[in-house]
Symmetry: C2
Subunit: 361 residues, 2 copies
Amino acid sequence: MVSVGGRLGLEGEFVEADLPLLVRRAGMAEWQDDRVRILDRRALPLVEQYLECRSAEEVAVAIEDMVIQGAFSLSIAAGYGLALAAMNGPGNLKSIRSAADRLLKTRPTGLALKRMIEACVQRAGAAIQSGRRPAEAIISTVDEAAATLARQGWKTGQRAAALLEDGSSVLTHCFPDRSYVYMLMEASRAGKRLNIICSETRPYMQGARLTSLCAQQAGFDATVITDGMGGFLMRRGDIGAFVTAADRVCMDGTVCNKIGTYQYALAASANDVPYFTLRQSGPDRESADENDIEVELRPGDALLYCGKERTAPPGVQGLYPAFDITPADLVTAIVTDRGVFEPSRINTYFDANSFVADAIL
Amino acid sequence: MVSVGGRLGLEGEFVEADLPLLVRRAGMAEWQDDRVRILDRRALPLVEQYLECRSAEEVAVAIEDMVIQGAFSLSIAAGYGLALAAMNGPGNLKSIRSAADRLLKTRPTGLALKRMIEACVQRAGAAIQSGRRPAEAIISTVDEAAATLARQGWKTGQRAAALLEDGSSVLTHCFPDRSYVYMLMEASRAGKRLNIICSETRPYMQGARLTSLCAQQAGFDATVITDGMGGFLMRRGDIGAFVTAADRVCMDGTVCNKIGTYQYALAASANDVPYFTLRQSGPDRESADENDIEVELRPGDALLYCGKERTAPPGVQGLYPAFDITPADLVTAIVTDRGVFEPSRINTYFDANSFVADAIL
């Protein structure tokens, strides 16, 4: 962190060049004239390469292929993907809706994608009715949402950083996206020394590849462990806090996040380690409890390989639920842009003051 | 299981050709004239290849390189390795002790290795004193121990199979060695249908590679999951029993096993899934409680890769404790050759009747 000037990040607080790559504009998905440019997260951390998508279908496949992941980041890519459909197709609402359906099918569990696509379709419809170009309406909707997400993430990260003790080890699972990265930036700014323990997160290794990279880029030491090790470290007293994102939080405080989270939450609870769930935009009004969550089953073949190496014998199956469910009583606090909530009181999020109006996601 | 005759396995019960490869003689480590032949477990399940070691040092390196693993199996390899030192060296007790020290250093956590090596050194010393060849004394000591282990494993597997319900799904972690395989053979013989869920066990993937192979070879369907998924499946009610081996059981019922076991034991306890620990030869008298266990730290670099693929950025560290500790109150029962014990009463193992006298390990 040596820059003293330059363009600010989408959150309007940090110099963009000082931010870890994954929360810079380029690190999510960017609209560029006639294409969507997406950082290929699968190639990180060793290679920084970008995929240029020129159709909604290409964006949908990129999301399905895990080029981009994280409920919010992939929603931005999907939104811009819809703009491609509006720009290249007949431009009527029917064709836009058809592309929207395709994009919605990519990942069923998070609601951010659904909200982004619905908002974009609505604005496109309004644009068509008033004789404006639907693609432009969609692009500005996504631009706005991306900036709002960044500001919400920053605010959430600020609140989360305040919960961490100087000198402690912070265990995380998967890549908890921008709130987590801003948490690291704010902790660093406050002079806290943290040791970041990244659970590798099989089979896509987001913890090993993305979280550790962000921790380094934010100025901290990072250590990778397997998904089976966090409990042992917690029991040994080596972990000060367990922090994850959430793909969805229900109104009763239930947390849905990357598979593996539940086991760590159990271990945290058993060993008096606080578990903080970062969910920048609060709970989902439409999800009363876990019965409203559909846990995505991804193709199990991914589990028959380690990297490119086949590990399981022919005839063996892989089972790959992508998320799991953590009941509210295992969560210490849910950290949002509007405040830090006890899980059982997360439904009061909507009564709390918002510093960003009208967040889509 | 179609053979109707042929050589019996070391346990004296099943036709050897009907047994899964890993519990056949060739699947552990075999003495052959002037060398030790070790099945290379790292190449399984796709390739069946053998390493031929001609010195104790080669055997030690094979153990360190995970060519063979599992507390008991590697002890057999180590014992035969010591015979190589006795045969090829000056044949005095000093040189045998020096090779013994080298072999003991390969893996510090399990006690079977220590006991095997100590028994071999003792018998070699007695042989030298009475003018017999120490190598032959060592080989017969290991042969005897291997047969005893197989019989103990079979008896343990028989008791464990009786605990499993027909039609249930059995979750396991890592490769729980011969007791587990005999459990599958006995369950199959009793006509039980089991669905075997194998937690892949990063970073060496013994669950994906070895356990699933044995489950198939014993006639069951096998499914691979990552090390973060078992808790979710247990919470969803999909798992009938959680079964592992133990690298060590303390006199107070504490279980030391492959890293990741503790998290699953927590999840089993939270979801009323029975957790059965297979420990064919009972607790270790020398281990009163977990304070007597040294948890081996293996080189952390293994965690910076997925297969041969580098996943973590340069500068990030890997932390690799190979085992974890599960307190007795999370264990439903410890299954041994002498009976099924409540963990808090495992110290009565030594009062129970043994059907094999004088087990070394």
